[in-house]
């Protein structure tokens, strides 16, 4: 009778090979979900009666926006764990997630601009949803610059963790911005409290691509944390 020792994998030494073994599975599954999702998005989901084909941007816009917020929460979670438990891996995980989170934030803004132009008539408006998402991008960039600027890795982790935790306040602001303020941006298409406001096949395509993005992010984070471990603790990586 022995409980699983979760802290075993909190050491870079044992996490390094585990991360390496997980990558091909995550990537394979991401490709599977991605291809199925794209098929549903372009060949199964019907044309929108109001927006025509331009609505198909939703299939990557919404998953990218979800990932931009979700990765930030996970990053801040690791950062907080690093401050509390002082575990080395936590700071590494936070820093491994940041570039991918920043990329999805950029993609949410980019696809949003390309969707806004044909439907709203403008690439950009300074409304609550768009502005708070832009602030999220600046938070990611701030985290990356701050941690990169501090020579001592552990000190960089702690400084980054404080910034990441303070920035968490922005996440509910993004999420509820469409409720709290009058914005050009539409309300949530999918919520836990009510039936989705979209056709089932549209929802299916969006969810499949969201899962694909999520698996992709896991693979990217695992590969990047391995690279960070190699750099900081070469001995932990050498035996793999």
């Amino acid at each position: 009778m022995s409980a699983i020792n979760w802290f075993k994998y909190s050491s870079p030494h044992s996490f390094y090979p585990l991360a390496g073994r997980m990558v091909p599975w995550f990537l394979g599954a991401a490709a599977l979900f991605g291809i199925t999702g794209l098929y549903v998005a372009f060949f199964v989901a019907p044309t929108d009666f109001q927006q025509g084909e331009s609505y198909r941007i939703i299939f990557i816009h919404v998953p990218a926006a979800w990932m931009s917020m979700f990765i930030y929460l996970v990053m801040a979670g690791w950062a907080g764990a690093g401050l509390v438990f002082n575990t080395r891996l936590s700071g590494m995980m936070a820093r491994a997630l940041a570039p991918t989170g920043a990329m999805f934030t950029f993609l949410a803004l980019w696809t949003g601009a390309l969707w806004g132009k044909p439907t709203w008539g403008t690439w950009w408006v300074w409304d609550a949803r768009l502005t708070s998402e832009l602030i999220l991008l600046f938070l990611y960039i701030g985290f990356l610059s701050l941690t990169a600027a501090i020579e001592d890795d552990r000190r960089a982790d702690r400084a980054g963790a404080v910034l990441a935790l303070v920035g968490v306040v922005n996440i509910p602001i993004i999420y509820f911005s469409v409720v709290w303020w009058n914005t050009l941006h539409q309300g949530a298409s999918v919520s836990l409290k009510s039936a989705p406001k979209m056709a089932t096949t549209m929802l299916l395509g969006m969810l499949l691509l969201a899962v694909a993005f999520w698996l992709y992010s896991l693979a990217a984070a695992m590969l990047r944390v391995r690279s960070i471990i190699r750099e900081r603790e070469p001995r932990a990586a050498a035996e793999d």
Binding site: G20, V23, L27, F42, F43, P46, T47, G52, E53, S54, R56, I57, I60, H61, A64, P99, T100, M103, F106, L107, W110, T111, L114, W115, K117, P118, Y216, A219, A220, L223, R224, R226, S227, R230, A237, A238, D240
Partner: protein, 52 residues
Amino acid sequence: MQWGSWAEFWAMGGYGLYVWGSFAVTLVCMAGEMTSLVLNERAAQTRNGEQA
């Protein structure tokens, strides 16, 4: 299936630039990030192999 031809598919009902501009940039970003990460991993494994 709602597309009469491939030309219609690429045109996206006149929104081709917006739709494909979104999907192409997303694909380029994700493929670019993953390629750089995988190349980094491969290089490290090669270095390890040479040391052993």
